[in-house]
């Protein structure tokens, strides 16, 4: 069962402004019985100032289609046509406390019925080339037609690009197979093969590249030096090996009882700067750089 908000349920169980409006002078009709939802929006517009005096609807469709229609009539009553046209499908969804992604098209239908009714009032022709496809990305409510058209219009060739243009695939990534299928189809029309991108580098948010990491480590060391130098000591970065950061303590600091405290402070700053647990380990510079002095 859909996870409908209480407002959606309320508007479905007790729809506002349902039924024909006998003296309507603006009627918009969208959808069809074969699609599974259809909406007739009827408005009574005051010709003097184009204010919507009354609105009503008749809807064939699911719970959220009926709730969206009901919400729409409540939102636009009292507005001028100009103001009403500013109402977006997101406004309808927001009024209802949100809609499941699969159901966003119900709010789109509401907005289109409104445009169609206004066009009808003004004696204009309203045409919408909007076409809907199967829902591919649930995270961002993007359908197949939208993805396909975007790929075509922009010559896209990777899932990443599709995500950048449409958002589809940018969430849980479970729709990537579906996006790849559409890509393969459109690319085949262009006579190209779809080549899947290599698996992305696993990048934990905020994870540093090796170079960035070394730079950060150096910065922390540099920041610690002036204090130590004042005490006639010094600290130098010797090597980095995974989580172990080797430093050499020099001068007055080497071996002094403050060494441990100093290293503790440096280590805390390292952890802070790198966002990971590391160990700062003192080494004798000579031992590190002169292997032949090591015991045989």
């Amino acid at each position: 069962m859909w996870d409908y908000s209480d407002t959606v349920k309320e508007h479905f169980y007790n729809p506002r402004n349902a039924g024909p409006l006998p003296d309507a002078n603006a009627i918009g009709e969208v959808g069809s019985i074969s699609c599974g939802d259809a909406l007739r929006l009827m408005l009574k517009v005051d010709p003097a100032n184009e204010t919507i005096l009354d609105a009503s609807f008749q809807t064939f469709g699911c719970g959220s289609a009926i709730a969206s229609s009901s919400a729409l009539t409540e939102i636009i009553k009292g507005k001028t046509l100009e103001q009403a046209l500013e109402v977006s499908n997101q406004d309808i969804a927001d009024f209802l406390g949100g809609l499941p992604p699969e159901k966003m098209h119900c709010s789109v239908m509401g907005r289109e019925a409104l445009q169609s009714a206004v066009a009808n009032y003004r004696g204009e022709e309203w045409k919408d080339d909007h076409e809907e496809g199967a829902l591919i990305c649930k995270c961002f409510a993007v359908d197949a037609v939208m993805i396909e058209e975007t790929i075509r219009a922009n010559n896209l060739c990777s899932v990443e690009q599709v995500t950048n243009y449409t958002k589809a695939g940018g969430g849980c990534s479970s729709c990537h197979e579906g996006i790849e299928e559409i890509l393969a189809k459109v690319l085949a029309e262009r006579g190209e093969d779809f080549k899947p991108a290599p698996p992305p580098e696993k990048k934990v948010p905020g994870k540093l590249t090796t170079l960035e990491r070394i730079r950060k480590i150096e910065q922390v060391i540099e920041k610690a030096r002036p204090n130590l130098q004042r005490d006639h000591g010094d600290i130098e970065l010797v090597d980095v090996d995974g989580k172990n950061i080797y430093v050499s303590m020099k001068g007055a600091c080497a071996g002094c009882q403050m060494e441990a405290a100093t290293l503790g402070g440096v280590q805390a700053q390292m952890v802070e700067a790198l966002g990971e647990l590391v160990k700062v380990i003192p080494v004798k510079a000579t031992a590190k750089f002169a292997p032949n002095t090591l015991p045989a």
């Binding site: 169980y13 599974g36 809807t59 699911c62």
Partner: protein, 407 residues
């Protein structure tokens, strides 16, 4: 959705059933004291091994299988379906065709769609307005290029039976493996697999008051087989992975209960279903039962209500505590109504408004009376909202009276 206040009436037993309390009670020790691995060489394991063996015998009896080793436990109907079809392809690599129907469960259809992309030829048998197959069309397709025939025993939406025993014999005569998805049939009608030509049969526990996530593939002794999952030697090397012991025990108990209640299913449950159908159809105009109503599961009733949308009906039913399901597009989040309704050529004016009521022996006549009283006002209320419905009936030509700017 919050639990509605009126006493709930559950009429969605083709979706899933309540696990029988007897099954739950029998399972519980296998989570605690009897936790051993049936493969282990100690008494913890041995006891469990015996229990699994007797559960297997219970299921064997329900299926009417000749040997208990013909049962391979799986994680449900979907796995059994996938295992059967993929096994047949692996076992017959030179055969690149599959025969199935347009109205199978997605567990078969979506697998076949994928196999089609991989280069296999899929023959999908069509159905007529009542959901029946044309066996001449079937016979003409049988050839040595076909690796497997997969045809369901009873349809999950309409309950309509396919003549699987006859079709299995035809497949056999042509030297082709025959699989049937009997997920909806097992436990509701007597089966006698030992005396059939069926090579493979899928079943699922949660449709017969056993737990979810357990099922089985029946594999006739001697039928060629290639496992889907390889690993340890469980299920005689045909389905690796440590057995889901508690669920196997639960399924064993549920199988025994189903056998005891088989008679009830075909008398009591059938009578309730028939009463529900007559009650609704006599009170609601422009509604009809779909499928082959004289040849269907005793518990299933699928009614198409014209000019209303299924999900809206379900929500209003749910408000009164009545649980059913719908083949409407909206309930699945897709744009098309159920593939079964479309395959039968049910017009769009009705296909979006199909409601499936699926009963079990747990339902009572009082409940059925309540549903018969609840449905007509709900349909009337929704039709009043519909632009396709006039004062007392559908507007004469719905597609014309309602002239949308785009469709």
């Amino acid at each position: 959705m919050s639990i509605p206040s009126p006493t709930p009436i559950y009429l969605d037993n083709n979706a899933t059933t309540r696990c029988a309390p007897e099954a739950v009670a029998a399972m519980l020790p296998y989570f605690t004291e009897q936790f051993g691995n049936p493969s282990s060489m100690h008494s913890f394991g041995a006891k469990v091994g015996h229990a699994v063996k007797s559960a297997r015998a219970s299921l064997q009896k329900l299926l009417g299988a000749e040997y208990d080793s013909e049962i391979i436990y799986t994680a449900g109907g979907t796995e059994a379906d996938n295992t059967a079809i993929l096994s047949a392809l692996k076992a017959n690599p030179e055969r690149k065709e599959i025969i199935t129907t347009t109205v199978e469960h997605h567990a078969v259809l979506h697998l076949c769609d994928q196999l089609e992309k991989e280069g296999y030829t899929i023959h999908r048998l069509k159905v007529d307005g009542k959901g029946r197959l044309n066996l001449d069309e079937y016979a003409a397709l049988l050839s040595d290029k076909v690796a497997v025939v997969s045809v369901m025993w009873a349809n999950n939406e309409t309950g309509t039976y396919f003549p699987v025993k006859q079709m299995a014999e035809m497949a056999h005569a042509a030297g082709i493996l025959f699989h049937t998805d009997a997920v909806q049939a097992v436990g509701k009608i007597p089966l006698d697999l030992a005396n059939s030509a069926i090579d493979m049969l899928s079943m699922s526990g949660h449709k017969l008051h056993a737990p979810k996530g357990i099922g089985a593939l029946y594999l006739r002794r001697g039928a060629r087989f290639r496992p889907l999952l390889r690993g340890g030697g469980q299920e005689r090397g045909r389905r690796a992975g440590t057995e889901n012991v508690p669920s196997i025990i639960g399924l064993g108990v549920a199988a025994e209960l189903a056998l005891e209640r088989m008679e009830l299913e075909n008398t009591y449950v059938r009578a309730l279903r028939d009463k529900l159908q007559a009650g609704i159809l006599s009170a609601v105009p422009h509604a009809f039962a779909t499928g082959d109503v004289d040849n269907r599961l005793p518990n299933t009733l699928n009614i198409a209500f014209e000019y209303v949308e299924g999900e809206a009906i379900l929500m209003l039913l749910n408000k009164q505590g009545i649980a059913a399901s719908s083949g409407s597009a909206c309930t699945s989040g897709s744009l098309e109504p159920s593939h079964v309704m479309r395959a039968m050529g049910i017009p769009y004016t009705a296909a979006h408004g199909t409601i499936r009521f699926s009963l079990s022996h747990e339902n009572t006549e009082t409940e059925i009376d309540r549903v018969i009283a609840a449905v007509p006002p709900i349909i009337a209320q929704l039709r009043k909202l519909s632009p396709y419905w006039g004062e007392n009936g559908p507007v004469t030509d719905p597609e014309k009276a309602f002239a949308p700017t785009y469709a």
